[in-house]
């Protein structure tokens, strides 16, 4: 065996190193200053993860390797785009860690601080595997590694009834959707006799049994639909988001969702690149998108709890995200990754505000935000920027990402879908403006008192704001992502009978 193959996995391996360092550090340190050991603060994981991101990204920038690399007989496959995606996830995780500081320094969480980082990084490791998988088993292992520790994170405030309940709901749904996914994978295995992505792809058209394979595809989409929380597989979302600690909700709504959406796209391009399948998945996604966007928007309008509200907002955002999957074009992939990046900074910014307000006042109701601008103008202003970005208002990045993702879907030949989605953005603007209205216009007898947020949260907010303002206006990010993206229109479809 050639051990240099391990080098292709450098991203995963270095993440394992980070995890190990944190694990060992956890033995010698604790968050409580009084316990006599070293102080375990947020700096260590943040610095390590930043280092990891930079090291990962550097070789990629230098070479611009757009061709795919595979190792271990095709079990592990890697493209430059995946490095970008992993770095995006890393940045999101760093922001989440920064946000978590205040919550983790509460007395009941101090001893669990190390656990939080480890669990989070293990889910991140799972997502890495999922993204770079070249075999359905690796993919499945990655998926499970990404979801099971997440359930522990959701139930992190285990003394709180809602948190425990949310954890239980999450793990049950995760298992159920994994079951569906496995069933779909077994169908594909039944149709083709292999689980390697490349081999599965080569089987279509020669000896693939189309009907059973289509069923496999649909079950695969269903399983992923649960992870991305698309309608009609979204029912767990609101309760879990509400019950989970706010920081974890932020992580769930962005990182976990983003990794799943990207993997969905890459696997579809890799495995189901046959015309018949493309038609099927386009048809399925058409209705899933329409349902996700519309239903989630209508539900979001009525929410009074900000975390539930963000849950429905996240469902509809996932619908927009999946617009990039339509037809599996390279333009769609760029739009999807860019959308994710922008959505990540905007959504995490909003969650950072929600979290810091919750930590200092314990309030998460929308009515509690009435008059926030008059007591905490800066926080309210940042929240406004993030909400405007989520709603797709220029000059903030959200406008650009929405424009690009709509453009990709339009170019893929779905103008009416784009029109429906566009009309839905008006509804979404309505409910985002409700929060803005609460903060600026509504009077309040007992507004949230003026408070100072801690340094880590400020750094997180600054990063998010920077992203929201700069990412769109400077087209650099999009241009770089576009140089690395690939799709069915740039990669040859390897099936016969398609005529392409």
């Amino acid at each position: 065996m050639d051990y240099s193959q391990f080098l292709t996995m450098h991203a995963e391996l270095s993440l394992l190193v980070v995890i190990t360092i944190l694990f060992i550090a956890d033995l010698f340190m604790c968050g409580d200053k009084k316990c006599g050991k070293g102080v375990y603060n947020t700096c260590l994981p943040v610095v390590l993860l930043t280092l990891h991101t930079v090291l990962n990204l550097c070789p990629c920038c230098g070479q611009c390797c757009s061709e795919s690399v595979s190792a271990f007989g095709g079990m592990y496959q890697h493209t430059a785009m995946m490095t970008v995606m992993k770095s995006v996830l890393n940045v999101g995780t760093i922001i989440v860690f920064l946000m978590a500081h205040k919550w983790l320094s509460r007395e009941e969480n101090l001893i669990k601080q190390g656990e939080f980082y480890l669990l989070t990084l293990f889910t991140l490791f799972g997502m890495y595997l999922m993204i770079s998988s070249g075999h359905f088993l690796v993919f499945f292992i990655g998926l499970e590694t990404a979801s099971i520790p997440l359930a522990a994170l959701v139930a992190f405030d285990k003394q709180r009834y809602e948190s425990a309940e949310a954890g239980a709901k999450f793990i049950l749904i995760a298992l159920f959707s994994s079951g569906l996914l496995l069933y779909g994978i077994s169908m594909i295995y039944g149709a083709t006799g292999t689980l390697y992505f490349d081999e599965v792809m080569q089987h279509w058209g020669t000896n693939g049994n189309a009907n059973i394979a289509v069923l496999g595809l649909l079950l695969f989409i269903t399983g992923m639909g649960f992870k991305i929380s698309l309608v009609p597989f979204h029912l767990w979302t609101a309760d879990t988001y509400e019950g989970a600690p706010t920081v974890v909700t932020g992580y769930l709504s962005v990182i976990s969702k983003g990794a799943a959406a990207f993997t969905l796209l890459t696997v579809l391009i890799k495995v189901f690149a046959c015309c018949a399948f493309v038609a099927t998945w386009d048809w399925a996604f058409f209705w899933i998108i329409v349902a996700s966007i519309t239903i989630a928007n209508l539900f979001a309008v009525r929410q009074k709890n900000l975390k539930r509200f963000m849950a429905f907002s996240a469902i509809s955002q996932a619908g927009y995200l999946i617009l990039g999957v339509m037809d599996g074009t390279a333009q769609g992939m760029t739009a999807l990754v860019f959308y994710l990046l922008v959505y990540m900074v905007a959504n995490l910014g909003a969650f950072a505000v929600i979290s810091v307000v919750e930590q200092s006042s314990g309030k998460v109701g929308m009515d509690d935000y009435n008059g926030l601008y008059h007591t905490n103008p800066k926080l309210a202003f940042l929240m406004t920027l993030c909400l405007f970005s989520l709603a797709g208002i220029p000059p903030f990045a959200g406008f650009f990402s929405k424009f690009f993702v709509f453009m990709a879907a339009f170019n893929a030949g779905h103008p009416w879908l784009v029109l429906i989605a566009l009309i839905n953005t008006v509804i979404s603007l309505y409910y985002y403006l409700l929060i803005v209205k609460a903060m600026y216009i509504q009077p309040n007898e007992t507004p949230i008192a003026c408070f100072k947020s801690d340094g880590y949260t400020r750094v997180a907010l600054a990063l998010c704001t920077l992203g929201v303002v700069v990412l769109g206006i400077c087209g650099v990010a999009y241009n770089h992502i576009d140089a690395l993206s690939y799709g069915l229109d740039t990669v040859a479809r390897c099936c016969q009978g398609c005529g392409q």
Partner: protein
């Protein structure tokens, strides 16, 4: 760096300055410096533009420049101006300048107010200098969203309802518009977002198929038409204007509603001429309804701002009416009407705001005899009213005359009938303006609280006088500006007229 970009840079610097400013005086200082610089730049641009034209430069757009922005999607930051945009930039600069003075004493949250106000003006200026559809659309939306907070926080009356209604209706319009833009871009081959390229089929663009045009033209036209108060999508306008603070009403009715007409002309009709010929008549009927319906509605209103808002619906309807007539004279008239309506409606809203600030009522049943109490404001109000009803010597006459002469010269009973119907709006306008002036300015004051009120302060006088000078200037010496506008509308109308298409009324 092209010098047109300074129109966007100045508001950006102003935003930065406002952010750093401490205290009301610094905020005012930044606003005055910035808006003066914008006005000076606009005047310089006009003079230089006229000199270029006089020197024989006949290019369609002058001062063009283009930079790659998002290369994979062919999106560029392209700027350029023709006669229409120069006129609009001048108008915007005047309104922003006077608007600053009209909101001189605004309380509370002065700084935030001017931040959003400046963002709005940045959107407006950016829109008029852009020739790339993406940049244009982006600036268009930048101009829309600050309205929500400007009305919602600093407005009066049913401000929350009005702000939400206005924002959602305009954003609904821009949803259609975005779809229309995609349709145009991909219909023309997806090679360029530049308007000139698409219109002249250069830079890799091909003509858009007529069948596709007939889908995207209505979407685009309605998208911009919502902002241009196209019947039946005008309902945001009365509520929005009535609730907005003074300077915002000025900017909104004076400039923002012009974005609609400008966009309809520059994007919808210019880029899809066949569809414009084929489907224009539907919108022509709608705009005729706007013109007459707006005027009639104004007659029965009792709130000063509602009267003016419906009057704006009528006058902006006339802009769309004129461009849909698709001939040179009417199109020039349309742009003149944009200018004229922008100036006089800003004047009107400024005066209404000043009167409201003193009497705390806008109900015409409670106002009377203001001429004795605040003679300066009352006289200016009469001037604004006369400009509105089209008195020769003021701007309204020039614009409406040009429009009706142009539209009447179109052959066909359909056009003639519609012109005659639209002409009746002049009479109706005279009815409500004269009644209004008679009611609130003359007669005896019945409310003794009003007797103690004072006349305009220096900042108010300054704003009003600037606007009156512009209105009178346009009315007395229209030729230099109408020639300039003619060089801008000419090429567009040529493209539209040369399009071969099935027009049921030609």
């Amino acid at each position: 760096m092209n010098f047109l970009s300074i129109f966007v840079l100045i508001p950006l610097v102003m935003l930065l300055g406002l952010w750093l400013a401490r205290g009301v005086n610094q905020v005012r200082g930044v606003m005055v410096a910035g808006s003066t610089a914008l006005l000076a730049l606009a005047i310089y641009l006009t003079v230089d533009f006229l000199a270029e034209r006089a020197a024989g430069n006949t290019a369609e757009m002058l001062y063009t420049a283009s930079f790659d922005w998002i290369a994979p999607l062919k999106i560029k930051y392209s700027v350029g101006v023709d006669g229409i945009s120069v006129a609009m930039l001048l108008l915007s600069a005047i309104i922003v300048f006077t608007g600053t003075f009209a909101s001189w004493r605004l309380q509370p949250l002065t700084k935030e107010y001017f931040l959003w106000f400046t963002l709005l003006s940045m959107g407006v200026f950016g829109f008029f200098i852009s020739v790339d559809m993406f940049a244009m659309f982006m600036f268009y939306e930048i101009a829309l969203i600050p309205m929500y907070l400007l009305i919602g926080v600093w407005g009066s009356g049913r401000k929350e309802y009005a702000a939400m209604k206005l924002t959602l209706m305009l954003m609904g319009g821009s949803a259609f518009l975005m779809c229309g833009i995609f349709g145009i871009f991909y219909g023309a081959g997806g090679a360029s977002m530049n308007i000139l390229d698409i219109a002249h089929h250069t830079g890799g663009c091909r003509p858009i198929a007529v069948g596709e045009q007939c889908i995207w033209f209505p979407l685009t036209f309605v998208g911009f038409g919502v902002l241009g108060a196209l019947f039946p999508f005008h309902t945001w306008s009365p509520d929005g204007h009535a609730s907005a603070p003074t300077a915002v009403s000025m900017l909104h009715a004076g400039v923002l509603m012009k974005l609609g007409g400008y966009g309809c002309f520059r994007i919808a009709m210019y880029l899809m001429p066949e569809a414009a010929n084929q489907l224009g008549w539907i919108f022509l009927i709608l705009t005729s309804i706007s013109v007459v319906y707006g005027a009639f509605s104004a007659c029965v209103q009792t709130d000063l701002k509602y009267i003016n808002a419906y009057s704006s619906v009528s006058h902006c309807g006339l802009v769309l009416f004129a461009i849909l007539m698709m001939n040179h004279v009417a199109a020039t008239g349309a742009v003149l009407q944009m200018l004229s309506h922008g100036l006089m409606t800003a004047l009107f809203f400024a005066l209404i705001g000043m009167i409201y600030g003193r009497t705390h009522t806008r109900d015409i049943r409670e106002l009377a005899g203001l001429m004795r109490i605040m003679p300066f404001l009352a006289v200016c109000y009469v001037i604004a009213g006369l400009a509105n009803l089209g008195l020769p010597g003021l701007s309204g006459f020039v614009a409406e005359m040009t429009i009706f002469v142009g539209s009447f010269s179109n052959e066909g009973a359909f056009y003639t009938t519609l012109t005659i119907i639209a002409c009746t709006s002049i009479v109706i306008t005279a009815v409500y303006i004269l009644r209004l002036v008679g009611k609130i300015l003359y007669g005896t004051c019945t409310n003794e609280h009003h007797l103690a009120l004072t006349d305009a302060t220096w900042d108010e006088r300054f704003a009003v006088v600037c606007l009156i000078i512009s209105v009178a200037g346009l009315g007395l010496a229209p030729w230099w500006i109408s020639d300039m506008i003619g060089t801008g509308t000419g090429p567009i109308i040529d493209v539209i007229q040369s399009a071969v298409a099935l027009n049921p009324f030609h």
